[in-house]
Symmetry: C2
Subunit: 377 residues, 2 copies
């Protein structure tokens, strides 16, 4: 398997280290606009070889991963798609997905992505093979993303240690505006406000741990983040409107000397729920299904699962004889298998077998789903 | 020296552990409304003995430290002042200072305080002797705080490892609204907004490190924090107004697709300036001065220094023969000694000697200050 990394900084470099450490028979070729970065990527072992141009890097690749700053991402994606082979999967790690998908048009080779991993320390010399271990890695197929490309990217992301999670572009971008881009803006604004608290000649006020925690992300990589704010400006402006409304409300309640004990306690509960959400090592159930063999079919299936909150922990795709249909094996958590079966039934997708399928059916209640019983297992 | 701790949770307990570990000839008596907390405080070694009532605890104390939740602080301070001896210094650790000083009226025994230290883990079983090491500990004397009481509290706070920093109540409360209370409100509001991003049946979104960092303080101890919001409601509402105005402005700039690279970079610089501000182990200069022997004189001096950003690292107070004046020795960083001399000259306070005074004079320029040269050193 030949992987091309376009951009070999912290993220690209960590992908290279993880792929070389964990995949068999892999060859990682890297390209980066900076020759110095490329040389470091070779010396830390993030890539096997460098390519003289982007085109040369992707020419014979099975999978291309683009790790460019968000501001440059659409142009780089187009350049990659022009040069990449027919059977190559193309993915990226950008923080905003709509501009990437728009740039690809209806090219089925693109399955956009976004790992929720990073570090305060940028640069390939901080790259680590375990950077993505257990991290959510969003996969954002578009309407015509090809099933086999989706499977390729899904498998690759799993192999380098991440937890692939399918999501649609609009939901992803709104979610990131809330959980990531908004926190950066709030942190910046708080820093400005504390800065203002200095008088002309006065010392900067001593700050405690809450200020340090809340503002840790303030002023992160300026070029990168200015690009992210711009790429996601509509969703981010919408989130800012909502946060301003909330702050105005709580400001009035504070001024009115309202007892905020319940508000504070509810927030503690809610944060616990949000942060502890990360799925743990559930027991997995395999569901084998037959789907129509057309572009976008698997993307639709994966997105439908995502919408119902059912995680696809793994999947494999194989065309069936005749070519009109394909076999898709999905692995999902045992506790979600009932929901998965109901969803497949709603979508009219045939379930033909799977490991622990009987348990899954029992859990769901056999009467509620129509199942073929000639299991393949 | 006999110290009474009123409230022996995380903060009170840590004060007790530090005092017992680092002071000679100290006896720490504790009182707490919870018998269980008192018993734990004894068992972890935070106090030497328990008292049956608050009044019994403070009856023979040289120094009383009140570590009650902010909501109860004013009433407890009044109860302590009614029971404490004439020569006892009374201080507290509350996050808002105006209500504490108002509760004390013009009682010269009170020198309010506030350590910028804490932990996510409340309770005396998490108390540590080194909790305050190097931490800023605000001292907030009022207009009639007695110099000797100020010195007692200043020395005690230094002895248990903290860095005493004098500040006036209004500045303190506004500063805390900005650097501490506002971050808590922002963290809570962000948690609410992410919580809302869940649909009715949808899974909670995966969150990355920026969300976790920014919201780490969200929902902190509900009773305690509701009390703080209430006690500092005017300053906090004012800070919320300002943050709302800032957010509205940046929202418009984002929506207009303005390039925010400079904003992001400036924020990074500003945060570095703010967080790196903590004074390091400067070389200290001693300045011996003569001040009028009346209540509030030393508090005024300390506040004037604070206003100019000159840190009093240590001080000692002694009445001079006749009783009309007192000798105050101040230690301040060498690099601030010029500013200190100028300030003392402005205040009409006589400088009568001190270690490295010649250096200090040279730095300031001898012509600019009038000094008595019969140094005591």
């Amino acid at each position: 398997m030949r992987i091309a990394l376009i951009g070999v900084g912290l993220i690209g470099g960590s992908v290279g280290l993880a792929a070389r450490a964990r995949l068999d028979d892999v060859r990682v070729v890297g390209w980066d606009p900076s020759q110095a970065t490329l040389a470091t990527a070779v010396s830390v072992g993030a890539i096997d070889e460098t390519a003289p141009t982007l085109e040369a890097a992707v020419a014979e690749a099975d999978l291309v991963l683009v790790a460019a700053p968000m501001g440059q991402m659409p142009a780089v994606i187009q350049q990659v798609l022009r040069a990449a082979p027919e059977n190559c999967a193309v993915t990226d790690v950008g923080s905003v997905k709509r501009p990437v998908i728009d740039a690809a048009g209806d090219d089925g080779r693109l399955v956009a992505g976004h790992p929720l991993a990073g570090s305060e320390s940028a640069g390939v010399h901080h790259a680590r093979a375990d950077l993505f271990d257990g991290a959510t890695w969003y996969l954002v197929p578009h309407e015509r993303s090809h099933g086999t490309r989706f499977e390729q990217v899904h498998r690759f992301v799993s192999q380098i240690g991440a937890r692939p999670t399918t999501i649609d572009a609009a939901t992803h971008d709104r979610l990131m505006a809330t959980v990531s881009h908004l926190p950066h803006v709030l942190a910046n604004v708080l820093v400005e406000q504390v800065g203002e608290a200095r008088g002309d000649d006065q010392a900067v006020p001593a700050t405690g741990p809450s200020f340090r925690d809340v503002t840790r992300v303030a002023g992160a990589n300026p070029t990168l983040w200015a690009g992210i704010y711009s790429a996601n400006r509509d969703a981010l402006a919408g989130q800012l409107d909502r946060v301003i409304a909330r702050l105005s409300d709580i400001r009035d309640r504070i001024q009115a000397n309202e007892d905020l004990t319940t508000w504070q306690a509810d927030t503690a509960d809610l944060r616990r729920l949000i942060v502890d959400k990360a799925l743990t090592g559930d027991e997995l159930v395999e569901l084998r299904t037959v789907v129509p063999n057309r572009p976008g079919a698997i993307a639709e299936l994966a997105l439908a699962f995502a919408k119902e909150g059912v995680n696809i922990a793994d999947l494999s795709v194989a065309p069936l004889p005749g070519g009109a249909t394909g076999m898709v094996a999905l692995w999902c958590p045992l506790e979600q298998s009932g929901a998965a079966l109901a969803l497949l039934a709603e979508l009219g997708i045939e379930v033909v077998g799977g490991e622990r399928l009987d348990d899954a059916r029992r859990e769901r209640g056999a009467a509620q789903v129509t199942l073929e019983d000639e299991g393949v297992v």
